[in-house]
Subunit: 419 residues, 2 copies
C-alpha cells in the first residue's frame, strides 16, 4: 500500500507554520507498513487542491489530507472537494449538536457565530469521522479505488481522529509487501567515520535492505529498512545485520531503538534509580525542557535552575564570585561549580551544567559567539568539555542541549563499565 | 515568480525528521515577493526525484531542492540529477581542498574516509555554491528557463548557502506581481469570535486582499495578504485595513507584526526595563526555554527554577509544606507561592508560575491529566487561572507555556493601562 499526505494552507508555504503533522502521520503509517511516498503542501486555492488530489490518486492507494476545514472564509477545502467527488455538502445533525454543545461549554452564555454552523457540513458521500475534541469533523471517502481521508489541521484534533478512526480502518486494508525498520542511535562519531567502520557489513547487505545515516546535532541515527513479503524473515535478517553493526560500533551505541537521546536517558536513570539535576545558563531551560517532555521524567528529574544572571549563579548555585571575576561565566571553573552546586541543592546523583555565548550578541575575541562549556558530574567524577560552535543562537542552544545529554549518557555508561 | 521546494529524504516521509527547512525557505522567499506554490517531500529514489523535478518545472520558475547531498551511500541525488540535466559529475578542486581542510580541523590526525572525496563532485553545468560551514557544496543551475538550486539538508548549512549565495541571486530575477503581508497577533479570543467581530470589515476587503486566521495554542494570528503590481499602493490599502481590524480588536492585540508572543514579551520588558522570572513545575523549563531562545532575552530574564519535586518547591521557592499538604502541588495556593517565591529570589518585577498534571500518568479524579494552574504576578497584583486541558503530555506542556506567556502579557498591558 502506498500513501500520500497533502497539507493545505498558505501558512505552511509562507513558512509561518512548520508542518509537523505530516511527520507524525508518516510515522504512524510506517508503523502499519504503509509507505508514504510523497508529502505535498499546497495553497488554499481550489485549483491547487484539485490538481494535487488528481496527481496523488494516480500514484497512491491512500491519500491523507489535513487542513482547510476551519469555520472561517479562508478555508475552501470542503467546497472544492464537493466538486471533485461530485457530492453535495449536507448538514450532519449529530455533528451540529456537538458543535453547539462544545461552543456552549467553551463560551458559556455567548451566542454561537453563524460561521460555526458550517462546521457540521460534510460531503454526502463521506463516512463522517466524529471529532470529540474539536468542532471540525473528519471525512473518509473511497472513490475509484482510492481512500481519501480529510482531517482538520489542528495537530491534536488530527491526531485524535487518526488514532480513533483512521488508523484502525487503514489497518484492515492489507498489503502483501511488508516493511521492517531497525534503528541504532549513536553518539560521538560522525557519519563518514561510522560508514568507514561498518563498510564491510554495508557491502554485504542484501538488496532488499537499505541503510540510512541520519545525523542530528550530537548523534547519528542509523536506520535499516527492509521490504519483502515475509515479515518474519525480513525482520530476522535485518536484526542480524543490526546486531552486527551495533556490536561493531559498541562504544558509540546509545540504544537499538528509534527513540530520542532524552527518552533513552529517562529510561536509563529510572531503571537504575538514579536522579539527574540540571543547571543551565546558555541553554536557558532547554535541557530541562527536553528531559521533562518525556513521560515519566518526574521519576528521575526533580530540579533545574536556569541561572541566566551571574547573581543567580552565585546566590543559588554557590558559584564563587572570585571564579566569575577570574574566569568569567563562560569557563570550565564556572560550569564545574554550577554542576556541583545543583547536585548539592537537589541531592541528585548526576548533574549537567552549561554556560556559553549563544549569540547573536555577547561575543568577545577570547570567547566568540558559539563558545560553550559543559560539565557533567556524578559522585565520583566530573567531566568537562569546551565547544566552539558558530552559527546562530537557536542552533548553538540546540547543540548545547544535545551535547549535554550525550555527555551525561557517556558518563553514566562509563560508570557502569559499559564503555 | 513562482517557486517550489522539494525535500529529498526517506527520513521525512517516515516521520523521523520534521521538515523545518521548507518553512524557513518559504519565509525567506516570501520576503523577496517570490510565492512558494508547493512544497514536496519525496523519497531518495531516482525515479521520484526525476518525476518531481519534471512536474515542478512545469509549474514554477524556481525550484529549491534540499537533501540527499551527503557522503554516504543512501544519497543518490547527485547521480540522478546528472542524468536529468545530462551533465557529468566533475571534481571541484577548490571544494576538495576545503573538504580536506575541514575534515583535518574536525578530526586532527585522522585519515579522511574515501567517501568524503565525493563531496567535491559537482555537476559540470552548475554554478558551485561554496559551503564555508560544511562539506557538501550547493549547486545553482539554469535549465530550459527554470532555476534549480540544490542544497544540503543540514539546516544551518542550507541557511548559510541560501543567505550567502541563493537569495542575493534570486533577488535579481524580478517579477511584476508584488506580494504584501500584514500580521496581527491576538490572544484571548477564538477565531470564530474574532471573525464575528470584524465580519463587516472582512466583507469590505477588496478581492486582491486575502484574510487568514491562524490559530495556535493561546493565540490567533491574522494575516492579510495582498497581491498587485504597485507595491506601495497594495501596502497602503492593506495597512489601512489592518489598522481598522487592530483597532476593533484592541484589547486582544499583542502586536501588529509577525513575531512570536515571546519575542513581543522580550521587547516589551526590555523597552520598559522590567525583569521577568519563572518558576515551573509541569512546563518543565519550557517557558524559560521559549523566552531564552529570543535574542537579547538576557536583558529581561535572569532566573528560572524548574521545581519538579515538591521538596524543591519548598526548599528553593519557599512554598509552605502545609500548603502542599492541604491543597497539593497542583493548586492555586501553590502557584501563588511559587510565583511570589521566584519573584523574591530573583528581584524580578514580574513572575510566572506553573503547576499541573501533564500526563500521561499522575491524574486523579479531582485533578485529571490536563489540570494546570498558572499564576502571574507583579508588585501590585497576582492573577491566577485554572486550565483543564486534555490531550497528551506534549500538548498540555505547549498550552501551559502559551497561556503563561499570554497571561503575563495581559497583566503587563493592564498595568500600563493599555487594556
Amino acid at each position: 500500500m502506498k500513501a500520500e499526505i497533502i497539507t493545505i494552507g498558505d501558512e505552511i508555504l509562507l513558512g509561518q507554520v512548520v508542518d509537523s503533522n505530516s511527520a507524525w502521520i508518516g510515522h504512524q503509517l510506517d508503523l502499519q507498513n504503509i509507505a508514504v511516498c510523497q508529502i505535498t503542501s499546497i495553497s488554499d486555492e481550489p485549483e491547487c487542491i484539485l490538481s494535487s488530489l488528481a496527481l496523488a490518486s494516480s500514484r497512491a492507494d491512500i491519500i491523507i489530507v489535513t487542513g482547510g476545514l476551519g469555520p472561517t472564509k479562508d478555508d475552501v477545502t470542503k467546497e472544492t472537494i464537493s466538486s471533485y467527488f461530485n457530492s453535495p455538502l449536507v448538514c450532519d445533525t449529530q455533528v451540529l449538536l456537538h458543535v453547539k454543545e462544545l461552543f456552549e461549554r467553551m463560551n458559556p452564555g455567548k451566542p454561537m457565530p453563524a460561521t460555526n454552523t458550517s462546521q457540521a457540513d460534510v460531503l454526502a458521500c463521506a463516512d463522517v469521522l466524529f471529532n470529540d475534541v474539536g468542532t471540525a469533523p473528519g471525512m473518509y471517502i473511497t472513490f475509484k479505488g482510492v481512500v481519501y481521508v480529510f482531517l482538520p489541521g489542528v495537530p491534536f484534533e488530527m491526531k485524535f481522529l487518526m488514532e480513533k478512526h483512521v488508523l484502525p480502518r487503514l489497518n484492515t486494508l492489507s498489503s502483501s509487501i511488508k516493511v521492517y525498520h531497525s534503528h541504532i542511535i549513536t553518539v560521538g562519531l560522525g557519519e563518514s567515520f561510522l560508514a568507514e567502520q561498518i563498510a564491510d557489513i554495508e557491502e554485504r547487505l542484501p538488496p532488499f535492505i537499505k541503510l540510512a545515516y541520519l545525523p542530528k546535532l550530537a548523534l547519528v541515527r542509523l536506520r535499516l529498512t527492509a521490504k519483502g513479503q515475509d515479515y518474519e524473515e525480513i525482520k530476522r535478517i535485518t536484526e542480524s545485520f543490526a546486531s552486527e553493526i551495533a556490536d561493531r560500533l559498541i562504544e558509540h551505541v546509545v540504544i537499538k531503538e528509534d527513540i530520542t537521546l532524552e527518552e533513552a536517558l529517562v529510561r536509563l536513570f529510572t531503571q537504575s534509580g538514579k536522579k539527574l539535576a540540571i543547571a543551565e545558563s546558555c541553554s536557558g531551560g532547554g535541557l530541562a525542557s527536553a528531559i521533562t517532555l518525556v513521560p515519566g521524567a518526574s521519576r528521575m528529574f526533580e530540579c533545574g535552575i536556569v541561572a541566566y544572571a551571574n547573581s543567580i549563579k552565585t546566590s543559588i548555585l554557590g558559584v564563587s564570585e572570585q571564579t566569575l571575576m577570574d574566569h568569567g561565566a563562560v569557563s570550565e571553573e564556572t560550569v564545574i561549580q554550577m554542576a556541583s552546586g545543583i547536585k548539592r541543592i537537589s541531592n541528585a546523583d548526576y548533574a549537567i551544567a552549561t554556560s556559553g555565548v549563544a549569540g547573536p550578541g555577547g561575543g568577545t575575541p577570547d570567547k566568540p559567539v558559539g563558545t560553550v562549556w559543559i560539565a557533567v558530574c556524578n559522585p565520583h567524577q566530573t567531566v568537562t568539555r569546551k565547544f566552539t560552535f558558530r552559527n546562530d543562537r537557536t542552533i548553538n542552544i540546540e547543540r548545547t542541549i544535545a551535547h549535554g545529554l550525550a555527555m551525561v549518557w557517556k558518563l553514566f555508561k562509563t560508570e557502569l563499565g559499559d564503555i
